[in-house]
Amino acid sequence: MLDELDRRLLNLVQTRLPVAPEPYRELAQELGVAEEEVIGRLRRLIEAKIIRRLGAIFDSRKVGYVGTLCAFKVPAERVAEVAAEVNRHPGVTHNYLRDHEYNMWFTILAGSEAGLNETLREIKERTGINECLVLPAVNIFKIRVNFDLA
């Protein structure tokens, strides 16, 4: 599905996209291909959803947003219905099922502490889930989301 040039391109753009007038031309030069080739492949990788976002990856805290990780204990037969309610909120960016009695783990981001509490209150009220852990980050040691494709 991915050929060698795709992999080289992905390896390159994961870490660095030039902040320059013609970023795709610079990438093309580095890869030894035409600029149109780079743009075409990036478009295809975005359409195939292999690239989720091209360009700026923001630090939500420095943008001025607050967030937390939450964990719910959801009965197995209610997972789909509870997930639908949780995921409906645009501030919920990640939601995973995990093999634990606390089985639903999701993150909430909001523009203010009050907004965050309101989202969480609404989710709890509408799902009736009361067994809930609220686990805000107090310190970040590492965020890295690059993978070596070589």
């Binding site: 091209l54 099922l97 639903m104 981001l109 609220v134 686990l135 107090v138 310190n139 590492k142 989301v145």
Partner: protein
């Protein structure tokens, strides 16, 4: 704090860098700014850490990293800075956070491990435990991704 122009720029950038020869010019024209001004502001946002990374966010599942474990660790408060640094130094660790403890939940350090198999994740957790000198931990493997999206900031 971000000013009005910065917020407008964030709103444009979060839609993805345009796939045209002069993408910053395309954004500049939308915002009534010059290309040079957009480039300068983007560089400033990177310097301030508001933009954590200027690159591509790639779906790692498609690249063979299919196993993903969150490992929760119970670490004495006074050891957190040291242990956090040790854990963050492992290449398998993509995220390492200190979080508040909750009633009935004594864990305060969280790492996310990515591997090609669950076994690789377990083995990495054991090596991290040894290196950090922390023995109280649990691995929580993800069994389904229910949602993964990029936050959209400053929408009306």
């Amino acid at each position: 704090m971000l000013n009005k122009l910065d917020r407008a720029l964030v709103r444009e950038l979060q839609e993805g860098l345009p796939l045209v020869k002069r993408p910053f010019l395309a954004i500049a024209q939308k915002l009534g700014m010059s290309e040079a001004e957009v480039l300068a502001r983007v560089r400033e946002l990177i310097e301030r850490g508001v933009i954590r990374r200027f690159g591509a966010a790639v779906r790692h599942q498609d690249l063979g990293y299919v196993a993903n474990a969150m490992v929760v660790w119970r670490v004495p408060d006074e050891r957190v800075p040291e242990v956090g640094r040790i854990m963050a130094s492992f290449p398998e660790v993509t995220h390492c956070y200190e979080r508040a403890r909750a009633p009935g939940w004594p864990y305060n350090l969280y790492v996310v491990l990515h591997g090609r198999t669950e076994e690789q994740c377990r083995e990495a957790a054991a090596r991290i435990a040894e290196a950090a000198g922390v023995s109280d931990y649990q691995l929580l493997f993800s069994t389904a991704e229910l949602k993964k999206s990029s936050m959209k900031y400053f929408l009306k």
